[in-house]
C-alpha cells in the first residue's frame, strides 16, 4: 500500500538538496545565524568551502531511519546546517543571480509594503533589512542547544576569517510543547507531501504513502495531498493542470547559468514575526463579547480563537469538532487532517476566513482552479519565552517563519497579498485572515465573518489592532551543495 508511485515521478537528487527543504529539520531547538559580506571574493570562496558541511535530505532521512530502527530520539546527534543567500549577495560575489522571481530579486525589505506589513524601518531590523542586521547569508542550525551555540561560534569565527561578518543570531525553540506557537496553537499540522523518489533512482517515495492511491488528487495520507516537486525545488516538474501528470519543469530564469545554478535549490522566505500575545487575547475577549451582543450567545474567547485559526489549540479542526477542543483528535496526525471544506460552502462549520482555509482551501471554495500551485513547505520555529515561562507582555516573542518554494511571488506573496490580506478571497467572502493577514489600506481595519446558524447575514467582528508584527527577515536562495561548491572557481 505504501509503495505506490505515479507515472513520471522524478528521482530527486536528495544527496545534494538541502535537508530542511524536503525533509524538514523539525528539531526542538534551532539557531539562526546571519552574515554580512565584507569581502566578496573571499566570501565566495568561504561559501563554496562550506558546501561539504551542509546537511542534505539524505542526511536527515538517514538519521530518522536509524532513529526509528533504534527507537532513539529524532534529534540529530550533531548539528545540522543549511543556508540561504540573498539575491543581492549572489550578485555581489559574482554568482548567477538572474532569477525570474521579482520578489526574490528585490528582497524582503523592498516588498514589505506589498505584503501589507505594519510600517517598520528596515534600517533598524534586528534580522535582515538594510542596516546592521543585513542578511546576505542566513544559516539555519539544528540540534541540541549547547552544541548549536558551539557550532555557531565555530562558523562565525571561520566566516570572519573568510570575508564575512556576523549580523544576527537568534535561537528558536518549540519547548515546552512540540509544535506549539505563542498563541497556544499547534503549528505546522498540515504540510503537503512531495512527489518524487529519494536517493537517486530508487523506487522509494520521499513522502511515505499511508493510504492507497484511489483519489482524484493523489494523497499520501488524509489531508496530505502530493504535490509535484517543482513547486519547491528547481529542475523538477511542477504542479500543472492535472494532479496526476507532471507539469512544466520549474526553472529559475531564462539565463542558462542561473538555471543550472538553481537546479536542486529552492527559494527561502524568512520572516521574523513578533507575536503580541496580550493584544491577541484582548481582542479575543472583546471580540467574543461583541459577538455575544450580536446574538452569538455561546461565543467565548477560546472558541473565537479556534474559529479564527480553524483549529483548536490541540490541532483538532473546528470542522470536525465545532464546540470544544478534542485533544485526542488533535494528537492523531491523520484524523486531525482528514477533512475538507467541499461541503461547507457557507463556512457554517469552519469560517471562510479561518487561517487554515485561507492558506489551504483544500477541496472547498477557491478562486483558482489548481490551489495546489499555491502550497509552501513551512519550516518555522518559535523564538522567545513562552507565556507559560514568562507572562510579561513586553517580551519579544514570536515565530521565525521559514518557507521553501520555487516562486516567492506566486506562492508565499500570493498567499499573503491575494488570500490572507483579502477580505473575500479565496472563498468569495468571509473577511481577512485575522491570525496573520494585514490590511494595507488606511485604517488597517480587518473584518472576520462568522456564519449565523440558521441563515441570515453573518456575524462580524472588526479590528485595527495587530498582534503579528513582522519586522525582519529576508528572501534567500538555498542552493544545492553542488551549486554552492561550484563557486570555488
Amino acid at each position: 500500500m505504501n509503495g505506490w508511485l505515479l507515472d513520471g515521478e522524478p528521482a530527486l537528487a536528495t544527496d545534494r538538496i538541502q535537508g530542511n527543504i524536503l525533509a524538514g529539520f523539525f528539531t526542538d531547538h534551532q539557531l539562526f545565524v546571519g552574515l554580512r559580506i565584507a569581502d566578496a571574493s573571499r566570501a565566495r570562496r568561504w561559501l563554496a568551502a562550506l558546501a561539504g558541511d551542509l546537511t542534505t535530505v539524505d542526511d536527515v532521512l538517514g538519521h530518522r531511519a536509524r532513529a526509528r530502527a533504534s527507537d532513539e530520539r529524532r534529534e540529530p546527534s550533531g548539528v545540522w546546517l543549511n543556508l540561504g543567500v540573498a539575491c543581492s549577495a549572489l550578485a555581489a560575489i559574482g554568482a548567477p543571480s538572474a532569477f525570474d522571481d521579482l520578489a526574490f530579486r528585490a528582497g524582503l525589505a523592498a516588498r514589505c509594503r506589498i505584503l501589507g506589513d505594519p510600517p517598520s524601518d528596515p534600517r533598524t531590523w534586528r534580522a535582515g533589512g538594510t542596516g546592521d542586521g543585513r542578511l546576505d547569508v542566513l544559516m539555519i542550525l539544528a540540534g541540541a542547544p549547547a552544541a548549536l551555540e558551539a557550532r555557531a561560534d565555530e562558523l562565525v569565527a571561520s566566516a570572519r576569517a573568510g570575508g564575512l561578518e556576523p549580523s544576527y543570531r537568534e535561537a528558536g525553540s518549540t519547548v515546552p510543547g512540540r509544535g506549539i506557537e505563542h498563541f497556544g496553537f499547534r503549528d505546522g499540522v498540515s504540510q503537503p507531501g512531495v512527489l518524487g523518489t529519494v536517493g537517486g533512482a530508487s523506487d522509494r517515495p520521499l513522502t511515505r504513502r499511508s493510504i492507497p492511491d484511489e483519489r482524484a488528487v493523489p494523497h499520501a495520507a488524509p489531508g496530505k495531498p502530493l504535490v509535484w516537486p517543482g513547486e519547491f525545488v528547481f529542475g523538477y516538474p511542477g504542479q500543472g493542470n492535472l494532479p496526476r501528470r507532471p507539469g512544466p519543469v520549474a526553472r529559475a530564469g531564462d539565463d542558462e547559468q542561473t538555471t543550472a545554478f538553481a537546479h536542486d535549490g529552492s527559494l527561502l522566505v524568512y520572516r521574523r514575526l513578533r507575536q503580541d500575545v496580550g493584544a491577541f487575547r484582548r481582542f479575543l475577549a472583546a471580540g467574543a463579547e461583541d459577538l455575544r451582543r450580536q446574538g452569538a450567545h455561546d461565543m467565548t474567547p477560546e472558541r473565537l480563537a479556534a474559529l479564527i485559526v480553524g483549529r483548536w489549540p490541540s490541532g483538532a479542526p473546528v470542522t470536525r469538532t465545532p464546540d470544544r477542543d478534542d485533544p485526542e483528535l488533535g494528537a492523531d496526525r491523520d484524523r486531525s487532517n482528514d477533512f475538507d471544506f467541499g461541503d461547507d460552502v457557507h463556512g457554517d462549520r469552519c469560517p471562510l476566513a479561518a487561517h487554515i482555509r485561507k492558506v489551504n482551501p483544500r477541496a472547498g471554495p477557491s478562486d483558482v482552479s489548481v490551489p495546489l500551485q499555491k502550497r509552501l513547505l513551512r519550516r518555522g520555529i518559535p523564538y522567545g519565552p513562552f507565556v507559560s515561562e514568562n507572562p510579561s507582555e513586553d517580551v519579544d516573542r514570536g515565530l521565525l517563519f521559514l518557507s521553501y518554494q520555487c516562486s516567492i511571488a506566486d506562492q508565499f506573496e500570493f498567499l499573503s497579498t491575494d488570500w490572507m490580506n483579502s477580505p473575500r478571497r479565496p472563498a468569495g467572502s468571509g473577511g481577512h485572515d485575522l491570525v496573520v493577514g494585514f490590511e494595507g489600506a488606511e485604517g488597517r481595519r480587518r473584518d472576520f465573518e462568522l456564519a449565523r446558524r440558521g441563515g441570515g447575514p453573518p456575524f462580524k467582528v472588526s479590528t485595527a489592532e495587530e498582534w503579528v508584527l513582522p519586522a525582519g527577515g529576508e528572501y534567500l536562495f538555498a542552493p544545492s551543495t553542488v551549486a554552492l561548491a561550484s563557486l570555488t572557481g
Binding site: A106, R113, A216, G240, T417
Partner: protein
C-alpha cells in the same frame, strides 16, 4: 412566484417593456438549463425530475427566506493564455490584448456570402469574463478600461432599443461619431475554418455586431470573447449542480475542479473561472443545498487590489485613480456589482520630472506598469449564488458526458472530448467508458492540436506560434 430577473447590475438601460423582455429571456434560459440537467439525471434514474435538480429555476420555485448568499470569485487574468505562453508571464501579458478570431477556432475567418473577408475580431485571449483595453500616449499606458458585461445583454438591448446602445457607446467612449449602423452587422457573415466560402452563418445581417470596431479596435464597451456570454455562465453554473460519478461509480467532485469540468462539459477547463464556478456550484449541491443565481444575475468585478499599485517613490497610488463607471460598489446585500472600471491618473497629478504623471510611470507590485494585463492581475470577479437546505432533493449522480485530452505546451492544455482520447493524450482514464482511440476523430476540435498519429502538437511554444495553439471551439 413573483421573481423578476433584473438587468445585470440594475443597469438603467431598458425601459419597462425592455425589462420584461430581459426577464423573459433569462426565464427561458433558466427553464432550458433545468431541462438539460433533468435529461442528464434521467439517464441515471428515469424518475428524476426538476424537483431533483439542485439548480432551481427561481420563476418556478420560491426562494425561502432563510436562503443565504455566497460569492464565487476568480481572478480576471487569463490562465489559459499563461498556459499557452508556457508559463512565461511577460509573454502572456504582451499578447493579452491581441485581437483575433481564435475564440471561434484556430484559423477561423469571417466571410461574406461571396467569400470576402470581414474584420470581426475579439479580444480573443481574454476569456475570464473580464476584458480590458489599454490606451497609450507616446507608447506609455495612460488609461486601462475594464469591462465584465456580457455581449448577449447588449445584443438584447440593441434588438430592443438601438438608441440607448448608441448613447452608451458615445458616453463610454467619449465620442459622438458612433451611429447605430456602425454597430450593426451589414450583411450575413459566415464562419470559415479554412478560408473558403462557408455556409455556417455566424452573424445575421442587421443584428447587433458585438465585435464592431468601437468595441474592439477603437474602444471597449463590453465583452467580446465568444465564451464571455451571460448565457454560457448561467448554463455552466446550472449544469455543474449535477452530482457526478466516474466509470467506477466513484464521486467526481470539486476536489479537482478541472476534472469535474471535463466530466460535466461545462466551460473551459483551462481557465480559472469556469472550473472555479463549476466546482463551487457543485460543492453547494453536494452539501445538500438547492441554489439559484442571485438576482440580478451577472458577472461582476468584485474588487481590485489598489494597494498593489505604487508611485515611483513607493507610496501607494490613491484608490480614487480606479473609477467605477458602471455598476455599483455599494449594494444592499453587500456584494459589489461593478461592471465598468477605469484606471487612470488624474490629469493634474505631476510626475517626478515635473510633467504629468502617467499610468506608465507607476509600479505594479514592484514592476513598472507597461501593460494593462498587470492591472488585470489585480482584478477579482465574482458571481453570487443564493442557496438553502434542500433535503427533499435526491442526490442522483449523473455519469460524465465528456472527458478531456491533453495538448499544447508541456501537455498542459485540456480539450473537452465526448469520445475517448487518442492513446497517450487522455487526461483521465476513468470519466468515459471504453479504451483510448487509436486515431483522433476527424473534424473534432482535437484535430487541430493532435497530430494524426495521436502525438500532441509541438511541446515548446515560441512567440510566433502562440496563436497557433488556440484550439477554441470546445463549446
Amino acid at each position: 412566484v413573483s421573481f423578476r430577473f433584473d438587468p445585470p447590475g440594475w443597469a438603467p438601460d431598458f425601459d419597462a417593456p425592455g425589462r420584461r423582455r430581459w426577464h423573459e429571456q433569462m426565464a427561458r434560459s433558466a427553464r432550458s438549463n433545468v431541462a438539460q440537467i433533468v435529461e442528464q439525471l434521467q439517464a441515471q434514474d428515469r424518475t428524476a425530475s426538476a424537483a431533483d435538480a439542485f439548480y432551481v429555476d427561481p420563476t418556478e420555485t420560491e426562494i425561502p427566506p432563510e436562503a443565504g448568499t455566497v460569492a464565487v470569485s476568480w481572478p480576471g487574468s487569463p490562465k489559459r493564455l499563461l498556459t499557452l505562453a508556457g508559463g512565461d508571464r511577460d509573454l502572456a501579458h504582451e499578447h493579452a490584448e491581441d485581437l483575433g478570431t481564435f475564440d471561434y477556432a484556430q484559423g477561423a475567418q469571417f466571410v461574406t456570402a461571396n467569400g470576402q473577408s470581414v474584420d470581426m475580431p475579439s479580444r480573443h485571449f481574454q476569456d475570464e469574463y473580464l476584458e480590458w483595453r489599454t490606451e497609450r500616449v507616446d507608447g506609455v499606458p495612460s488609461r486601462v478600461t475594464f469591462t465584465c458585461e456580457a455581449y448577449d445583454y447588449w445584443e438584447e438591448l440593441f434588438a430592443h432599443d438601438e438608441d440607448v446602445v448608441v448613447e452608451r457607446y458615445r458616453e463610454f467612449l467619449g465620442r459622438d461619431d458612433v451611429g447605430a449602423d456602425d454597430l450593426r452587422v451589414p450583411e450575413d457573415v459566415f464562419l470559415s475554418l479554412d478560408g473558403r466560402p462557408s455556409n455556417r452563418l455566424a452573424f445575421r445581417a442587421g443584428t447587433y455586431n458585438p465585435r464592431n470596431r468601437f468595441n474592439t479596435r477603437e474602444g471597449i464597451v463590453h465583452l467580446t470573447h465568444r465564451a464571455n456570454s451571460l448565457g454560457a455562465e448561467v448554463n455552466l453554473a446550472a449544469i455543474s449542480s449535477a452530482l457526478r460519478k466516474d466509470v467506477h461509480g466513484r464521486d467526481v467532485t470539486g476536489e479537482d475542479a478541472n476534472r469535474l469540468t471535463c466530466c460535466g462539459a461545462f466551460g473551459d477547463p483551462n481557465r480559472n473561472s469556469d472550473p472555479t464556478i463549476g466546482a463551487a456550484a457543485n460543492n453547494v449541491a453536494r452539501s445538500g443545498k438547492a441554489y439559484t443565481l442571485t438576482n440580478p444575475v451577472g458577472l461582476y468585478i468584485a474588487d481590485f487590489d489598489h494597494e498593489a499599485v505604487t508611485l515611483p517613490d513607493g507610496e501607494g497610488a490613491p484608490r480614487e485613480w480606479w473609477r467605477v463607471e458602471r455598476g455599483r460598489e455599494q449594494t444592499d446585500d453587500g456584494f459589489e456589482r461593478i461592471m465598468r472600471l477605469v484606471f487612470e491618473v488624474p490629469g493634474d497629478v505631476r510626475g517626478p520630472g515635473g510633467g504629468p504623471l502617467r499610468a506608465g510611470d507607476l509600479l505594479v507590485r514592484g514592476a513598472p506598469l507597461v501593460r494593462g494585463a498587470q492591472l488585470a492581475e489585480l482584478v477579482t470577479l465574482h458571481l453570487m449564488v443564493t442557496a438553502w437546505d434542500a433535503p427533499e432533493r435526491r442526490a442522483i449522480r449523473a455519469a460524465c458526458v465528456t472527458t478531456c485530452c491533453v495538448g499544447g505546451p508541456d501537455q498542459q492544455l485540456l480539450f473537452i472530448s465526448d469520445d475517448q482520447c487518442a492513446a497517450g493524450t487522455g487526461a483521465f482514464d476513468d470519466l468515459l467508458p471504453g479504451a483510448p482511440r487509436t486515431i483522433p476523430t476527424a473534424g473534432s476540435p482535437l484535430a487541430t492540436v493532435v497530430a494524426p498519429d495521436g502525438s500532441a502538437a509541438a511541446p515548446v511554444l515560441t512567440e510566433i506560434e502562440l496563436d497557433a495553439f488556440l484550439a477554441g471551439g470546445s463549446r
